[in-house]
Structures are given as structure tokens and as C-alpha cells.
Symmetry: C4
Subunit: 242 residues, 4 copies
């Protein structure tokens, strides 16, 4: 039913990978309400599907569907211009932004967008989150940068994300008056970045409510970031922004 002619044109390995990614992306959406990052139908997760010798695809949430109603089959497949390739529903209205990121950042395998409260609060002031926590240095290697104000409807959101993150260690950008977009090696890594950017936005906000947080020396930030990207975890966390 969801196998339209669009996807039939792809080799069977790609079609199988699409089905695997549909299940994965569907499951990862559950992490967004679990960590308090979204309400109602807001927020979306996507993952790139690499097509050997062709143009890559992406799998993303359908538009305006509540989290309880998401199923692997309802996930939508698009090409990297954001055109529908497979799926019975309209793709998320943020698909063009996700697609632009995949087109222009080949190392990125996953993208997440939320309106998580504290990250969005910094975005509404257009103020970057300063790096005053060791866990920020670990995860983001410095401050969380602000992207431009951009209207939905063309590639201006995607361009804003790419231009802000291209030369940053951060896997998260706070789009002005809008909210955070995060990138990762894959969708799970981008979801982790979405969870962590809200956590650090919240903690630094609360710290600043009663005074100025103490700065961390740039050399300490550098060594924390280097160590975390290379040593932490079970050896599977090479950085998306090397």
C-alpha cells in the first residue's frame, strides 16, 4: 500500500533499508515526548538513506499526525529536493529544511527539529548559549549558535542551518524566533543532540537567573571536546563535525 511506483524504481537493498529506517525513525519519535521536547504533533526526526550510485533519500514523519498514531508505514520517503517518493501521507512541512541539510552536508545522516522550551527561549532572544558546563564542552565543543530568522516555504531555513553549522563544532543551531535543529551521524545521534541541547539550554538559563555562570577556559573546552569525541562510550561515537 505504501509501496508506490516511486520506490519501486530503487534496488531491493535500498527498499529494504528504507523499511528498516522507517521503523527506526518511527521509534525515535517516541524519544521526543519522552524527554519533554515536543507537544502535540510538533517536532520531527529524519534519517538519510544512502543510494549507491544514485541520489540519496530521506525518511521523515508525516505532517500533523499525533505521536500516538505514528507507525513505520506512515513514515514518508522523499528525495533530497523534498519530493515525495513513497508514502500515503504528506511529509512534514519541515521536509525541505531536512533535505537541504542532507544535500549540503554529506557527512550528516540524521536531522531533528523541535520547539523544546528552553532552547526556543534562547532562540527568541537571538542569543547563543554560552559554554559554561563541562557537558556542553563534551557534547557541543563550545556555545550553541544562533541561526538567522527564516520563513518556511523555500530553502531559507535549510540554508540558515547549513551556514551556521558548517564551521561550528556544535551539532545544534537555534533558529531565531523558531527553535533548535540538530544534526548527527544518524537519526539517533541527532535525537541525542536534541535532548542535550535542551538540557544545556535549560541548565544555563537557570544558572543565569541568579547571576553570571563562571566561564570555562577555551583550552579546557578544547580538551574536554577532544576527549569526549574520541574516548567516550563504547567506541562508536566519531563526531559528525570533526
Amino acid at each position: 500500500m505504501t509501496s508506490t511506483p516511486g520506490l519501486a524504481a530503487y534496488p531491493s537493498e535500498v527498499r529494504e533499508e528504507v523499511e528498516r529506517v522507517r521503523a527506526l525513525v518511527c521509534d525515535l519519535h517516541a524519544e521526543l515526548p519522552r524527554w519533554g521536547l515536543v507537544v502535540w504533533t510538533a517536532g520531527n526526526v529524519s534519517q538519510r538513506v544512502r543510494v549507491p550510485g544514485g541520489e540519496d533519500l530521506l525518511v521523515i514523519k508525516p505532517s500533523g499526525v499525533t505521536y500516538d498514531d505514528l507507525t513505520p508505514e506512515s513514515m514518508v520517503v522523499c528525495d533530497l529536493e523534498g519530493n515525495l517518493v513513497d508514502g500515503s501521507r504528506a511529509p512534514s512541512s519541515d521536509t525541505a529544511a531536512h533535505a537541504y541539510v542532507y544535500q549540503h552536508m554529506p557527512q550528516v545522516g540524521g536531522v531533528v527539529h523541535t520547539h523544546s522550551t528552553y532552547a526556543t527561549a534562547w532562540a527568541a532572544r537571538g542569543e547563543e548559549v554560552p559554554c559554561v558546563l563541562t557537558m556542553m564542552a563534551d557534547e557541543f565543543g563550545g556555545p550553541i549558535p544562533i541561526g538567522p530568522f527564516a520563513l518556511i516555504g523555500d530553502d531559507s531555513i535549510g540554508r540558515g542551518i547549513v551556514e551556521t553549522l558548517r564551521d561550528s563544532r556544535s551539532r545544534a543551531v537555534l533558529m531565531r524566533n523558531h527553535g533548535p535543529f540538530t544534526i548527527g551521524r544518524d537519526a539517533k545521534d541527532a535525537v541525542k543532540a536534541a535532548v542535550m541541547v535542551e538540557e544545556v539550554a535549560r541548565t544555563v538559563h537557570i544558572s543565569r537567573q541568579l547571576g553570571e555562570p563562571l566561564p570555562i577556559a577555551q583550552s579546557d573546552i578544547d580538551s574536554l571536546y577532544a576527549r569526549y569525541q574520541n574516548v567516550y562510550g563504547q567506541g562508536d561515537s566519531a563526531p559528525v563535525n570533526p
Copy 2:
């Protein structure tokens, strides 16, 4: 047991619709604690039942019953003067306000009232929530307005809601010192507005704690609102306030 003579006077299609709406309104109440909008027995959801060639009815929560104890059968049916038509319990003490809205805003099919924390905090200061988030422009098309102080017991709450929302794009009004009322095409749409008004009230509050949020140009608000009301979702979201 809940089929009193009051409802027996209505045609069977209306009686069947009442039973369907009872189940729907009962289920939607679960969304209020789920999204942290109510404690204990506070808050209520209602939906209009259209009566062809007659006066419409409304289905609403009984008064003072905890959310765990709500059942479809316990939902109360009233006419648009707020008189009991069917039900073994007293209707919510906010029924008169809901009924007044249905009487004076024929396009409204659902009404929700909560005391959700951040929306009520703005209401206690009598201060509208400024439109500084793209998701506010999408959902509400501008600021969330303040309604007058009004005592319960006559139609002054209902009048305050109608007079404030009649000429507004917003589906939410913050009644002064009291809390938010939201309207929608149906009860689910009004519940969504209740969830979203708390979300934007919270995010803008937090943003303003550390400085002034950046304004969004009115022309950008207009184009975001127009797009969202017409394009977003799966084609089922015509605005209640066109």
C-alpha cells in the same frame, strides 16, 4: 440510566451523536493531565452537538469529578442555556460560559478551559503574550489576548470570551486573574489550542526572564499564519477564526 426524558425528545440521529460525543469528550479530558494542564478536578472540555432544525446541545464534564473517575456515561448533556438535558450528575460549573460561546459563535464546535500554569500567570498580570515565536504565528496568528475580570454565576465569563475572541485570530483568551479558555472547530481542536497556548505562554515567559525576545515583523506573522491555516497537516485544519 443516563437516558432521561430530556434526551428522549430528540431524534435518534441526535441521540446517537450524543453518545459518540460523550465518548470523545471523555477521552479528550485525558489529554489535559497528560500535557500538565490541570491538577485534581480542574479543567473541562465540551463539544457542540448540532441538532438539525432545533437548538444545539453541548456535552461537558460533570462537576468536581476526578479524571480517573470520568466515563462516557458520566458526561453531561446540556442545552445552550446551560440547562441539564441528560446526565446523572451536575454539569461543570463552567457550563454557562461554554454555552454562551456556542450560542454566540456558531462556527465554534469545541471549548476548553484550564488553569494551566504559565497561561494563568500571564492572566494574573493581565498581560497579553506577545507573538515572538513562529509557532505562535502559525497557531494563533498574533498575540494571545487578555479577557476581562469576570465572576462566575452569570453570563459575564461567556461574554468576556466572545467579545475578546470575536475579532481576533487567536483561538485562546486569557481571562484576567483566572486562566485560559480556548475554542476550536471541535473539541479536539480546542484541546490542541489549550496545549499550544500553555506551550507558548511558557516559552515566551522563559525567554523574557533573561531579556527581551526579538519581535517578528507583522508581515512575517501574517504569512506564517496564512500558510499554516491552509497548508499544514493532512488538509483537515480549516481555521475556526478565518
Copy 3:
């Protein structure tokens, strides 16, 4: 096993009532973490057991037991001097305060104590919560008063509660640097007051973070309180503080 000689001296109606109240008080403790009022083992609920022609008893939580481990049998029965009458565990270290309230406020049937965050934050400043919300006027009939600083170990906490609440409409007192105690017709009513006092402490706190909430006229507070105590709910909510 929990039927010690202490309880055997009471008539069977009282012993049956004690067992009923044990189950009720045990269940009501689950409301405290549910509404975010307590962490770990903090907080306690008690209910009076009336003894016709004798001195009343009270049923209360054992000391230092986590909420997951509470059972009806583990609930402790004491007399109104706080002496153990029945139970295999030590009673809550706040038992003396509960007992003092029951002794000196005969209309009180339930007492709850928590360290809920926002109520305790006002208590730490020794500042009453002003009545700027209609739901506060409904539930508490005015501001939430502050009780004195009192050390645990004698009847000074109990005296502080009684002296503060005796001439107040409020069913809640914020003991200075300590936290809220609430009273009610029965334990459930006192639990409701504990939930509502945190809700209003939180909402007024948040409102005041960005400016001064608008006052409600005393005459409006009076009429809201009178209506709510007499009309609201299903006719079972006569006020404990008439």
C-alpha cells in the same frame, strides 16, 4: 500481625474503621508523588478515626519508608498524644504535629504535610502567597498564611499550625523554612488542599517573576469563596473552615 493489644482494647466497629482508613491513607500517599509534591520518603498523610465515647485515633505513614513499599498493613495507628497504638513500624516523625492538630481542631479529619517546591520556596522567605487567582479565592478564600519557625521534637509545629489556621479560611499553612501543612474534612480533602496549595504557590510565583499580579477585590474573593464552598462539585464539599 499488626493487631497488637493496643488496638484490641477498642470496639470492633473502631477496629474495622481503622482497617478501612489504613487502606485509604495508604492509597492517598500515591497522590503525593503523582502530583510532584514529594521525593523519596518525604511527606505524609493522616486521617482521624473517631472513637465514640473515647479518645480518637489517627492513622499515618510509617517513618522513612519509600512510597513503593507502603502497604495498608504498614500504616501506623496512634492516639492523639502521638503514642503508638498499633503497627509494626515507627510512625512518621511528624506524627506529633498531626496529633496536635486533631486534638485542637475537632472539625479536622485529615492532615497532610509535604515539602512541595513552590510552597516551600515561599515558606523559606516567610512570605504569604497573595490571593490573585480566582482558583485561590475558590479553594482558600484568601492568601496562604505563613506559620512560625518551629523545631521538630515537641508540640511547637502543631501549635504553629493550629494558631495560624484557627482564624483563617485557608486549609493550608506554610511553616517558615519548612513547608506546607494542609487540613481537610478527611484525608482526601487535605490531599486536595496539598495539591492546590502547590499549584497556586507555583502559578503566583511564576506570575510575579515578570511583574506584579493584579489584585482581586476583597468582595470578589468573598463571593468566589462563598459560592465554591456551597455550590461546587456534587454537593459533598462543606468547608472544614466555615
Copy 4:
């Protein structure tokens, strides 16, 4: 599978105790997300295993594993230099800090580390939490102290914890720009301290947002602490910091 030669060198009583502690430490990790202290894979719990006539061991969480995937078998056993003794995964990157504490504070049986929001917010400002709540006096006997800024990778975090807590009544230290470490008689006691330090950091933060909390006299703090450590609970709570 997890029984490597490392552990085989220990007597059977120790090996049995290790298995018991693995299950316990695994279960206690569930308390961290339950009380909102951690997101994703952050945070770790350890417990000492006493080895009669030899050097003690510790059991700790593996590195970078999400809470849903933790099992007793995945818990890692190390010696008190932080070397792996048993386990199929790399130990938490905070193992050196835990090990240092066990080596230098023989009375400590459990250590917990989180980045809980409010405690970390105080840590980012390098500001101790003043003792203005009776529950702080009970649990911590005074303010929550600040430890030095320390990089991960050698024993500087461990030294900072030990030097700060050695002469303090507090079972919690806020490591500057980093987050809280707590100690206890055993892992459960340290988890309780982690829950309570966030609770008091949050409540005092919120209190101070609208003014200065009232101080508690030192003599009152002393008597509250003495009573709580000796009397509270069911007689099993001798203090780790006497």
C-alpha cells in the same frame, strides 16, 4: 560470559556479593531518570564491594549505555585504581573519580554522579547552596559546598570531591561548572543524597528568585541534623559523615 579471569581470582563470597551488587546497582540507576536527575546516558551509580583481607572492588555502570539497555550483567567491576576486573564493556568514564573516593574515604560505600539541573546551575556559578530549609539541615547539616574545577582524565575530580567532603557534614558536593557528586553508606544512600541535593538546590533557587530566603540559626541547624541522623527512619540511618 562476564566472569573473566579477573574476578575468578576472588573468593566465592566476594563473587557472590559482586553479583548481588550488580543487580542492586543496575536497579538503582532507574531511580535517576525517575526523579528527573539525568537525560540520555548521563549519570552513574557505584557501590563498594568489601574484600576481606584484600583491596576492595567497585561495581559501576558501563560507559555510554542508555538506561533502557542496562542489565545486571552489563555492570562493570573495577578495582580501586579504576582498572577493569570484570565486564564485557568499558566502565563509566567517571570511574576514576568514584575509585578515588572509595580509596580515600573508607566509610563511603556508594557514590553517585549526575548533572541534575538545579544543582548543576549552582555549580556553574560556583556558589554553594545556603542552608535555609529544615530538610537541608536534616539531610546535609548545612550548605551544599562547591568543589574545584577539574578536568576528567586523572584523579583531579576524585581529589576535589574528597577534599571538599572530608570535613563537611554534607554528602553532596557541587563540582564547579560540572555537577553534583554524592556519597553514602551504600549506593542507595548516595542515590537518596543525589535526589535530595537536586530537591534542595531547586527549592532554594526558586525561593531566591523573588527575594532572600530567611536564614536558619546555626544552633537550629545543628539540632535538626543531630536529631535526623539519630532518630529518623527505622533505625538504619547512621550518618556516613559523623
